[in-house]
Amino acid sequence: MAEPILVVDVGTSATRVALVVGDQSGLLREPGTASLVWPSSVCLDDAGYLVGTAAERRKRAIPRRYIDGPRRAVDAQASMWLDGREVMGGEALGAYLAAVRGEARQQYGADVDRVTLTTPPAYLPRDPRRDVLVAAGEAAGFSDVELMSSAVAVALDPETGGGLPGGALVLTAELGATWAVSLVQVRGNHTAQLAQETSAAGNELDALLINDLRSEGRTWLEPLLAAPGDAGLRAYYEAIDFVRRLKHQLADAEEVTDHLTPITPPYRLTREWLAAFAEPALRWLAASCHRVLAAAGATTADLGAVVLAGGGARLPMAEPTLRAALGHPVRRAGEPELAVARGAARWSVGALSRGMPAERPSWRVEPVAWDVPGGRGELMRWLVGEGQPYPAGAVVARVRVPDDRVFDLVAPQAGTLLAHRAAVGQRVGPVLVASAAKTPKALAEHPPPLQHRLEVAGSWLLTPDRQRLVECDGAGRFVRYRLVGDPAVTGEFIPEVGTAAPAGGRVFVGPDGRLCLVAWDSESWFSLWDVDTGKLLTRFREPAGASGVRVNEIEWRLATEAEGKAVGRYRRSTFTIWDLRTGDRVDKVSDDAWTRRNPDYSSRSRGQGFGTTVASPDGQLRAAMLEASDGSWVLLVHDIATEQEVFRARETPDRRALAGFSADGRHLLANWESESRSTVDVWHV
C-alpha cells in the first residue's frame, strides 16, 4: 500500500493542508471551523502551544501570547517574543505541524510519516531556512520531509496547469502576505523554478488600509488602540481582521461599509480606493514579471501560461494588471488561495514515480571491498595506482584508524585496479571500496547483458566520434539517430522529396566530419543533404540511371555504376564520377576492373565507427568480426593483455557484419547487415 503523504502549505497567516494516499488526494478541513483554510496562528498557553482556530479563540484572552503565524519569523530568521518568552520560528512551526499531523491522524485513522512542505520561492537551494523547515517537520514527527517551491506547486495546480506541453514555461504570481513572481519550467518530476522575485507588497497593502482606517476613525479608533494593558493590542488585532475582511468583500462588490464594533461609526471602503492603495504593489508586480523573465533569458513570447494565485489574486485589479503587462491571458483558479496546496498534492501523488533505478553495473568492473577495522579510519594512501595491475597478496591501500594503528588493505587475488573510489586523507568506513577489472575468466563466465537490439530496413552507421547510432532508411526517406546507450530516437531528418519515388539512400561522413545523406530517386536525381542542418548541399542527375552507388569519403566524390553496352559476351559497366562539393560530373569510365583499381570508393561509409576489428577506448578489449566457413559471422571479444577470449556472438546476415565500441567504452556493438534489413545489437560492457 502506498504511504500516505501530508501536504502542508504554511502561509504567513493562512495554511492549507492536503492528504495524499496513492493516487487520491483531498484537502483537509480545519477541525475548529471546517474551513479548507487553516489559520496559521499560534498561541503559547500555560499548557503549551495552541494552533489554528484554537489559537484564534484564545487571542482575545491572552493577546500577548498570540502571533498570527510563525512563518514570518522563519522568513526573517528571527525569534518571536510571546509574553516575554523568546520562541524560535522553527520551534513554533514544529508545534504547529505536530498539531496538523495529529489532526491528519484523526481524519485518516493512522499515522502519516511523510510530509511535503511548500517553501516560499525565495528559499533557494542551500538557504538555511530550508533546514529550519526540514527540522520543524522532523520535530513534528515526520520521518520524511520533502520541500517544494510554492511557485512549482502553483504551476502544477491541476485547475490551471492543464494543456501545457513538457518544457513549457509558466509565470506564476503568488499574491499572499508576500508577493512573489516566479518562472517555472514544467517538466513532470523535473519541474523546476528558474527565477523569482519577492516583495512584501501584500503586507504593505494591509498596512495602508489600517492607516486609512486609523485616520478615518481617528476619533473612535485611537482611544481603543491606546487602551492600557491587553485591551489596546486586542483592538489592534480586531482592526487588522476588520480591514482584511473588507478587502475580501470588495472582490465582488464596488463598495463595502461595516462597523468595527457594534458601537463604533461605520467605515466605508470602495474598490476605487482599494485600487489606489494597491497601485504601488501592482506596479511592482508588472515590472517584476519582466525582470523575472529577463533573469531566466526568456521573453513573453516563450510563456506557456501565466498563473495568478494566492488570496491576493482576488484583488479586482490584479488580473488586468498582469494581462496588460505581459500581453498574455492569465489563468486563475476559482479558489486561488488553494492553488499551492492543490499543486503540491498533485506533486505528492507522483511520489511513487520519483524513483531512480540503479545504473547497470559495468560488465568488466567489480568492486573490491574491505571492512575497515573498527568501522572507520582515514585513508593514508593508495599503493596501487589507477589502471595498474597488482599481484595476489598486494597491499592496495593503507588506512589509519582512530587509535593510530595502521592497517594494510590486501587484495587476495591478482587483478587490475581501475579506479580509487576514495581520496587520500578522506574519512572512510565502515567499508572501503575500489573498482577492479574482472578477470578474463570471470568475464567469460558471465557474458555481458544484451541491452537492446535495433532493426531497420536500410543501413546503420556509428558516427566517427562513436557517440551516435544513425539509422538510414533503405530508400533514403528518413535518417534517425540515437545515443549509443539509449534506444530512444533523439533526432530525425526527413528530406524533402519531389514527385519521383525515393529509390535509395545511405549516410556517409563528409570531409569535415559532417553526416551527409546521399539519396536518389526513380528519375535518377541524386541529392546530397547535411543530416544535422537539413540543408540540401547539392543535386545532380545521372540520366543513365545507376545500378550501384559508391562514395569516396576522402576525395568526396561519388561514382554511379551503369550497366554499359554489350561487348561480345560481356556487358561492360560504366562509372560516372561526380564531385560532391559541386555536383559536377568529373569523369566517365568504362572499366571492368574500376572498383578494384579504386578501393577508396565504397558502398558503405569507411569513416564511421564500425569496423571489422576495433579496440575498446581503454585499450583493454578487442572486438573482431570474422566470417565463418558456414557463412555465419562471429563477433569475438578478447582481453588484449592476456589474449583470452571473453565473449562471442554469432549471427547469419546475408551480407556482412561489423563491430564497434561506444566512445565511453560502456557499450559493445555489432551490426549484422542483410540485403533487406540491418540489425544492431548493443551490449552493456
Partner: protein, 456 residues
C-alpha cells in the same frame, strides 16, 4: 636473513620508539623477534633526547651531549615539550622547529636500527603520552616527524598502555586488573589508571606534572651543591666569565648539573657517595637520606597527583591491583618506599624502569593483531549500486532496505533529498540482496557514486 623460506615472506620490521622528554629508546621488532637499538657512542640502551647544530649537520644523542659544553647555545634538549606550540628556536645561527629536532633524533634512531637489522625499515611504532588526545596536534606532528625521518607507516601507542605490556616481576597481569602506572621520567611525571585487556589496555584516566621529573631532582641537588660549595665554586665562576649569560657560565652550570646527576645515580645502589667536582675541589658527600629529604616535596606532589587521579576517575584504592613505577626517576631508592607508604598499594617492579615503555610497546606489537585486512571475498559476484541522481547530488536520508535483506526489481532501496528539496527514491533495477552500505544516512552522495554493494 637470506636463508628465510621463500614461501613465507619475511616479517616486516618495525622500529619501536619510546620518545622521551630527556631520553629515548628504540627496539626493532620483526615478527616475534626483537633487537634493541643501543646508543652507538656509549652502548647504553637509552639515547639522550638531545640535539646539537654544528653549523652543517645536526648531531644527536651522546654526540650532542658532548658538544654542549663547548657551544651551549647550539645545543637543545627537552624539545618534545615544544611540539605543542611548535615555535622555532635558535641553535647556533639557524632556527629550528621542535618537530625538526624530533626528525633529527628519529632519523638517527632509524639509521642505527637499519644498520643493526641490515635492511631498510619503513614502519614505526612510537609511544606518546596519554595526554596526547585523539585530536591533539602533537599526534599529527609526531607522525609527520617520523614520516620525514623516512618511516612511511607510523603508528602511535599511549605510553602507559605500552608500559603495562612490559614484563613485570611476579605473576602477569590479567584482563580486568586495574593498574596505576607511575612514570617518573627525566622531564615529566605521568600517572595513568589502566584497565588491563588482552590486546589493549583502556586508559581510564591520566594526569601529568610537567615540571616534576628526574631533572628537577638534579636541579635541586645542583642548587644544593651551589649553596654548599660556595667556597670553591664562586672563585671558579668569577674566573670563568664576566657575565651570567657568558657561555662559560652556562658551561659551568651544566657541569654542576651533570655532577649532581652522577651523584644521584650512584646513590641508587649505595647508601652514601663521595665524589669530586674537579680533581682539586674538595670531596662532596651525599647520603640517601639527604637525597630523600631533598626530593621529598617533589615526590609528595607525584603522590598527590596519583590520589587525585584515583579520586577523579572514581577508582577506589582497594580496586587497584598494582602500581607500576617506571621511568629513570624511579631508580631513586626512595621512590618505591614512598609509594608503598603513602599510597598503600602493592608495588610491582620492572627490570629496567627506564626501558619499560619501549619494551612494553615491543611486546604489544606482535600481540596487537594482524595489520593486514584482506578484501571481502564471496563466491557470488558483488554488484555496486550507483544511481544517476537528478541534478548530480543529493542528501541521503535513509536506507529503506537493510544489509542482508533481499529485494525485488523496482523496490525503493534508499531515499534522498535533492538540493531542490524533492524526495526521490533510489530503486532496484534487478532483484538482489543488499550486502554492504558504502554511504551512511546523512551523507551527501553524488550521481554514479557507489552507494552500496549487492549480491544477485
Amino acid at each position: 636473513m637470506s636463508g628465510m623460506s621463500e614461501s613465507r615472506p619475511r616479517d616486516t620490521p618495525v622500529l619501536v620508539v619510546d620518545f622521551g622528554t630527556t631520553a629515548s629508546a628504540a627496539i626493532v621488532v620483526a615478527g616475534e623477534e626483537a633487537w634493541p637499538v643501543p646508543e652507538p657512542v656509549t652502548g647504553a640502551a637509552s639515547w639522550p633526547s638531545a640535539v646539537f647544530w654544528d653549523g652543517q649537520q645536526m648531531l644527536v644523542g651522546t654526540l650532542a651531549e658532548r658538544r654542549k659544553r663547548s657551544e651551549p647555545e647550539s645545543f637543545a634538549a627537552e624539545f618534545k615539550r615544544g611540539l605543542a606550540a611548535d615555535s622555532s628556536v635558535v641553535l647556533g645561527r639557524r632556527r629550528f622547529r621542535p618537530v625538526e629536532q624530533v626528525v633529527a633524533l628519529l632519523t638517527a634512531l632509524r639509521s642505527e636500527a637499519e644498520r643493526l637489522y641490515g635492511a631498510p625499515i619503513g614502519r614505526a611504532l612510537i609511544t606518546v603520552p596519554a595526554a596526547y588526545a585523539p585530536t591533539d596536534p602533537r599526534r599529527a606532528r609526531m607522525i609527520a616527524a617520523a614520516e620525514a625521518a623516512g618511516l612511511d607507516t607510523v603508528e602511535l601507542l599511549p605510553e602507559p598502555v605500552a608500559t603495562a605490556f612490559a614484563p613485570l616481576a611476579g605473576p602477569p597481569l590479567v584482563p580486568g586488573d586495574l593498574v596505576l602506572v607511575y612514570d617518573l621520567g627525566g622531564g615529566t611525571f605521568d600517572a595513568a589508571i589502566l584497565s588491563i585487556g588482552e590486546r589493549w589496555h583502556e586508559v581510564l584516566g591520566h594526569a601529568t606534572l610537567d615540571d616534576c621529573g628526574g631533572r628537577d631532582v638534579d636541579a635541586l641537588l645542583a642548587g644544593r651543591i651551589h649553596a654548599e660549595g660556595q667556597a670553591w665554586l664562586a672563585p671558579l665562576l668569577s674566573s670563568a666569565a664576566a657575565s651570567p649569560s657568558d657561555p662559560a657560565t652556562l658551561r659551568l652550570g651544566m657541569a654542576v648539573t651533570d655532577f649532581a646527576q652522577r651523584l644521584k645515580h650512584q646513590l641508587s645502589t649505595a647508601p652514601v657517595v663521595e665524589d669530586f667536582f674537579l680533581p682539586n675541589a674538595p670531596a662532596y658527600r651525599l647520603t640517601q637520606a639527604d637525597l630523600r629529604a631533598l626530593a621529598a616535596p617533589l615526590l609528595g606532589r607525584t603522590v598527590t597527583c596519583c590520589t587525585d587521579l584515583l579520586a577523579r576517575t572514581g577508582v577506589q584504592p582497594h580496586q587497584v591491583t598494582a602500581v607500576v613505577p617506571v621511568g629513570g626517576g624511579v631508580r631513586m631508592p626512595t621512590v618505591a618506599e614512598l609509594l608503598q607508604q603513602s599510597l598503600r598499594l602493592p608495588v610491582r617492579t620492572v627490570e629496567d624502569p627506564d626501558l619499560a615503555t619501549v619494551r612494553g610497546a615491543a611486546r604489544w606489537l606482535p600481540h596487537s593483531g594482524p595489520r593486514r585486512v584482506p578484501a571481502a571475498t564471496s563466491p557470488e559476484p558483488s554488484i555496486p549500486l550507483a544511481f544517476a541522481i537528478p541534478g548530480g547530488s543529493a542528501h541521503l536520508l535513509r536506507w529503506l532496505i537493510a544489509p542482508g535483506q533481499a529485494y525485488v526489481a523496482g523496490v525503493p532501496l534508499a531515499r534522498v533529498r535533492l538540493p531542490t528539496g524533492a524526495l526521490w527514491d533510489l530503486t532496484a533495477r534487478v532483484p538482489g540482496t543488499l550486502d554492504r552500505l558504502l554511504a551512511a544516512p546523512g551523507a551527501e552522495v553524488t550521481a554514479h557514486e557507489w552507494l552500496a554493494l549487492a549480491r544477485p
